[in-house]
Point group: C2
Chain length 370, copies 2
């Protein structure tokens, strides 16, 4: 009997990343401060700042539904998802190159609107499109953005650096992108579409996330943050990345998860559990970070927040313009362990996250996220 | 009557690049020395060197035939075509990120061999893979490489900078990649496949080009080079880019074109004109550059060459390991004009290149190159 050929689908995205780390993160040049495996690569080009470099793609009908997302928002989206990775290191996006691979029958109108979105999102963060490439595919739309940024050397924040006892916090609210996707895919039924405001806000959450750049900079400048990641794969999965990178366990209090009101409302409409969307929905592009337990009040003061440990699950939607109004919510803590994620339920019971919820996020090669 | 929707195919790759230049090359940040439009972006990050950044893609069944190219060579190819752009600015490739977009049924064996090629090509030029992204497509294989490099600020060479009277020179030989493609596509018939050595060398010319990094550095260090580009689209088309960027005409002496012996041999077999392949074949990744007419002997001496102006069309194949043995051939000169390319025929007549040859190279959206 012949053995089946092993494919990407068998080892999954994270098995694949491990393969790359073991192949390429050996005997690295001294200029490479951080290679494959964190949110972005960190390069020492001399001077007082590190160069950050990352790339992330958006693929038609994989990451977004072709024909349903406005080209302008697609342009914003590819910039924001990359900028979110730079924000997670405490950095500022500076220069971008765009690799645009698409069929030659793509309309010029689509391109004009798409690039206006790219330009507007870069402009809002003080970054510039400096180059790129365009090439013809047979059918598919594959957009790769390559984003470079900078961070003062003494303010770089990595995924690794947390200690047992550190409190885990999250910016903003969760579940809104998944709620938006449900609306975009038309899973709401006809009745709901009358509530135009909710529909539009939900769609925008999915189409046009906003990277937490100001927040990331402010957190890095505080000096209190021990580890950070952005939430792209979903809260539980990204918590898992932090836990395994730090060789610690993490315990998250379900009662403290800041579920977005849009998520609550739309989940109710489709008979889903909003908490599940908040835990595994992904693509919220909030920042997830840790701070020594005794420094949380100082951090909150630095950010201009009241150091309250609210137990309310629902939080007001955040303003994008002012870091001081962005909710910052402590949701759990690190403890000695081996990289696992635990959930503390409403009755105080602590269970492994796998037991609470079957799938735990987005894997690019195993497909889907629920 | 409704007007037809204008598409990428209508404006072509170069019309599209013009659109991007006019949209994004305005009020650029002082850190952006060179934005969209040259081979690579040039960024001032402080210190004595510029940061160079470029991206280029390889798309299955567009840039290479899926299933016919060994994965190892594909890995080398994506690195070399990007490195060639860095070489054309006089730079050294340093750090790369790879955006790999492919179907989830891709075999692990393919990936291992592909990444070994990527690693080997980067290693030969002293560069490092520091990050990237992998994502699932529905069917297509779309590989984007992002390559960063450095160049001493006083050695940067651009497309622009030539003057009337400057001599135009080219490294190595031309037409070999197009000859290789003919072999790979099986256009040789069965008789020819018995000449294994020629077949293999031709295939390798197409599968696994080698960026002229040492040559590019040496040329930049000489201080004689006024403008440079790499030959990816084809000699005539890349001459056209140089001519239009410098607002000069260029006259090329057909008798001096260094046609590769492989190209001669394979063209003969298929009844094609080897000169046409050398002029418009593309993907040879040689360097095309200009030098003030009175400095050519000094340049040749600096490179360790005899300053001969041979009129032989056929030149020995070049060694890849030693810049001193790489042929450097003067093929023409710039003169006052408006960006056109002229050919000087064997009887001394000078005709516009469009009159000599119908199509003039590769356009990613108008398709094909013959």
């Amino acid at each position: 009997m012949e053995e089946a050929v092993k494919t990407l689908a068998d080892i999954g995205e994270f098995g694949f990343i491990e393969f790359l780390r073991s192949k390429f993160n050996v005997n690295l040049d001294p200029s490479v401060v951080l290679g494959i495996g964190d949110d972005v690569a960190v390069i020492d080009v001399g001077g007082s700042e590190y160069l950050l470099a990352t790339c992330d793609s958006q693929i038609g009908d994989v990451h977004f539904p072709v024909g349903l997302i406005p080209p302008y928002d697609l342009g914003c989206r590819i910039v924001e998802v990359n900028a979110s990775d730079v924000a997670a290191m405490g950095g500022t996006p500076r220069w971008a190159l765009l690799g645009l691979n698409l069929p030659s029958q793509t309309s010029i109108t689509f391109l004009e609107e798409f690039y206006t979105g790219v330009g507007d999102s870069l402009a809002r963060m003080g970054a510039w499109l400096v180059g790129g490439n365009c090439a013809r595919t047979k059918q598919e739309l594959v957009i790769d953005l390559f984003l470079m940024g900078t961070v003062p050397k003494n303010q770089l924040v990595r995924r690794k650096g947390a200690s047992a006892g550190d409190v885990v916090l999250v910016t903003g609210t969760l579940g809104k992108s998944r709620a938006g996707l449900e609306v975009v895919l038309g899973n709401m039924g006809t009745a709901f579409t009358e509530n135009v405001s909710v529909v539009e806000r939900a769609k925008q959450s999915f189409f046009h996330p906003r990277a937490r750049i100001t927040e990331g900079r402010k957190l890095a400048q505080s000096g209190f943050v021990t580890a950070m990641i952005d939430i792209s794969d979903g809260l539980l999965q990204d918590l898992g990345h932090l836990a395994s990178e730090n060789q610690l366990d993490v315990v998250v209090d379900i009662a403290r998860i800041p579920v977005d009101p849009l998520c609550e409302e739309i989940a109710k409409q489709v008979g889903a559990d909003p908490l599940v969307w908040a835990l595994i929905g992904g693509e919220d592009y909030e920042l997830l970070f840790s701070v020594p337990g005794d420094r949380v009040p100082e951090l909150m003061a630095w950010l201009g927040h009241e150091a309250t440990m609210s137990s309310s699950r629902t939080i007001s939607p955040c303003s994008e313009s002012d870091v001081l109004t962005t909710p910052i919510t402590p949701i759990g803590f690190f403890r000695e362990g081996s990289g696992r994620v635990f959930l503390k339920g409403l009755n105080g019971e602590i269970i492994p996250s796998e037991a609470f919820i079957g799938a735990s996020g987005w894997d690019h090669f195993r497909g889907g996220n629920s």
